[in-house]
Symmetry: C2
Subunit: 421 residues, 2 copies
């Protein structure tokens, strides 16, 4: 498309979203919940349509040589469609944050000020070839009264189109503007980049995907962005760590699921307990097929360990690899973590309450743990019910983002003729 065409196309989507958001802001919770449940039913009813569209994507991706892992994320099955549908039903059950009076106070001049939670307006989501995100992102944005403009990965194009169509039809049935969810149906990269600058229409842009996607959005967007989901997560084994907790927590954080942002990527071990801990821990990790990359002390205690390079400490492997480094002190551990982490999740294993406190206070991450696996950084695990992502930035939202984090607020001020002296 020519530049002018791109602008016209995106502006027309923006106008449609703007018209829809005005209606969405006026819906009450029950209207929204009914529509979510109807969309959930429609996904089940039209499973065949979804599977057919997904097969188009899948075959194309397979022929293009997509890796097994990515093909698996792309695949829709009746079970996965059921899970998508249930996701919407769950969102319908969550409390609606919109309209909550967060604070209210009276000023000496008689002005009454209420701080009220409101929808953002229009949210943009840019994500990779995972069709389930389409329904999920719609559900969370819709429940919070926001219109959403989606740009999914090109490899899931037909699947996303089908999911969006099913949801839009369900909304129309419920007399709600279908434009509550809009899909950018052009996979040209320049369209995606132009979308990141659609500031006049979009209030918030959330990239969901790998580090490359997120970097591209941060560098190009003029819309406020929330960065999500890159996690170089650490566990520090303090000299007072309870040996009975160490292996279960490290194995859980590293291997329970390797491709996720809250998996442990780097281990720090206090030198004073390295010889007591590392041999058994190394054995347990090796049994789970984890490749260990360590410093000299680690290699001495675990002969199978490879040498870690400086670069290893900054890596989010998302794989069965773990960097392991020994440190002389809590101080050194904290400094190392604050240098290499991505602000996601970091843990200390310790039986010393002072060290725990120091670690909690000084490690600069969204979630800081004492004696628990980093794998708990998750909207469901926190009891938020659903999440749009894990924010690794400090503005607006940090850590698991639930429904509240998809809202803004406004001040409503009522007077009786007050003027400023």
């Amino acid at each position: 498309m020519e530049n002018v065409e791109i602008q016209t196309y995106l502006a027309s989507l923006g106008e449609r979203a703007a018209a829809a958001k005005t209606v969405l802001q006026s819906l009450d919770s029950e209207q929204k919940n009914r529509a979510l449940r109807r969309a959930a039913e429609a996904l089940i009813e039209r499973t065949d349509r979804l599977i057919l569209a997904n097969e188009l994507d899948y075959e194309k991706a397979q022929n293009a040589g997509m890796t097994e892992g990515l093909l698996d994320r792309l695949r829709l099955t009746p079970e996965r469609i059921k899970a998508m549908s249930e996701g919407l039903v769950q969102i319908a059950k969550l409390p609606d944050p919109v309209g909550e009076v967060m604070e209210q106070f009276d000023r000496p001049n008689g002005l009454h000020i209420e701080k009220v939670r409101v929808p953002m307006g229009v949210i943009g989501i840019i994500y990779e070839a995972r069709p389930n995100v389409t329904a999920d992102a719609f559900g969370l944005c819709f429940k919070t009264g926001n219109a959403v403009i989606l740009k999914g990965g090109r490899d899931a194009f037909y699947s996303n189109q089908a999911v969006t169509e099913v949801i839009r039809d369900a909304l129309t049935e419920m007399n709600i503007p279908a434009d509550a969810v809009l899909l950018i149906e052009n996979n040209d990269r320049v369209v995606t980049t132009a979308f990141m600058k659609l500031k006049e229409y979009v209030d918030l842009l959330i990239p969901r995907g790998g580090a490359g996607l997120i970097r591209s959005v941060v560098e190009n967007s003029t819309i406020p962005v929330i960065e999500t989901g890159t996690g170089n997560c650490h566990i520090f084994i303090d000299e007072t760590a309870d040996p009975a907790k160490i292996i279960p927590i490290v194995i859980n954080a590293k291997t329970q699921r390797i491709g996720v942002c809250n998996a442990c990527e780097s281990l720090l071990v206090h030198k004073k307990i390295a010889d007591r801990i590392l041999p058994a821990l190394g054995k347990a990790l090796l049994e789970k097929q984890v490749e260990i990359r360590g410093d000299a002390v680690v290699q001495e205690q675990i002969p199978e360990a490879h040498a870690a390079s400086e670069e290893d400490y900054g890596r989010e492997y998302l794989d069965l690899i773990l960097s392991v480094k020994t440190v002389d002190s809590l101080e050194e551990a904290i400094a190392h973590i604050n240098k290499y982490n991505t602000g996601h999740s970091d843990a200390i294993l310790t039986e010393n309450p002072e060290n725990a406190k120091e670690f909690l206070r000084r490690v600069d991450s969204a979630c800081v743990y004492v004696n628990a696996s980093t794998r708990f950084t998750d909207g469901f695990e926190f009891g938020f019910g659903a999440e749009i992502g894990i924010s690794t930035q400090k503005l607006h939202a940090r850590g698991p983002m639930g429904l509240k984090e998809l809202t803004s607020y406004k001040y409503q001020i009522t007077g009786q003729g007050q003027i400023r002296p």
Copy 2:
């Protein structure tokens, strides 16, 4: 400077700020308040030094033909230095938001989760040639445990250098790292643009100034930005408005201070009361030297009114000019406002509670008023004590930003060996 030199220079500032922030995060409120009071005293003690530096800037600006209005903002006098100093004393008196436990809850698996308010880390402020902002921005950032990197307008260079030096010396006296406040001492525009991309070190960037500065920051920054301070504020006079309130509120909102973001720039009048209201209102505005730009109905009722163009409705005049438009309904007024406003402050004058409610709910602005002047959108007027600006975006902060808005939060999670099943 060469590109490499710029990067080295900014990275060195970033490293210094990072080192300082670690100390600042550990200070208790009393330590911070003592340092603020000492800095306040030092500004008074070294008034002569500040005045001398300011004279250098002032003369240079005067010779370069700076306008009276800008020269006035640049000028430091003993009274203004006293006001800067008092500003810091006031900030010392405000409650410290850092460390507040915002929420805490226990999960069924025994994990205890606390959401704790923490400093952002390093804040960048880019502003125009107003030396008082230097002390003010330092005070607000310091109180909230943040290091701050300042880039002030080039025309206030010597003044900013002097203010920063006095504050840094005061911090050193109090055994607090002087690098809590750093000034970018290079006025090359490419340095400022490179600063907007110093994402590795800066957590939040706040532009304070006119629309051009803000646009440049939004377009270039890779650091999360809070947009502040552009206000195309509206007042809608509903058909049920109390005639006794109309003139005082409109005159106050338009003329009490014309160069500020919460001044009224555009008036909407319900057609049903246009003939009853406009002649007297027009007279009152003209007496205050306000130029009126209106539609045909307005020109009929106020013969002195000029014709308004479409462009007028989108203007933030910051001047003795007011656009006036008549509308057929509340609906039309809300649609017009949501089309042209900047998300700052808009008011309705009405005695109809239903219309008031509708307006409060549907106008998409940080602050929405019923029967009061838009001039109240201000941190002091809201009782927040001090403000870094008025946010016109929806992410993180909206409306007057006090101390809380300069903080983030983290989750601190304490377990007893929990792993994810």
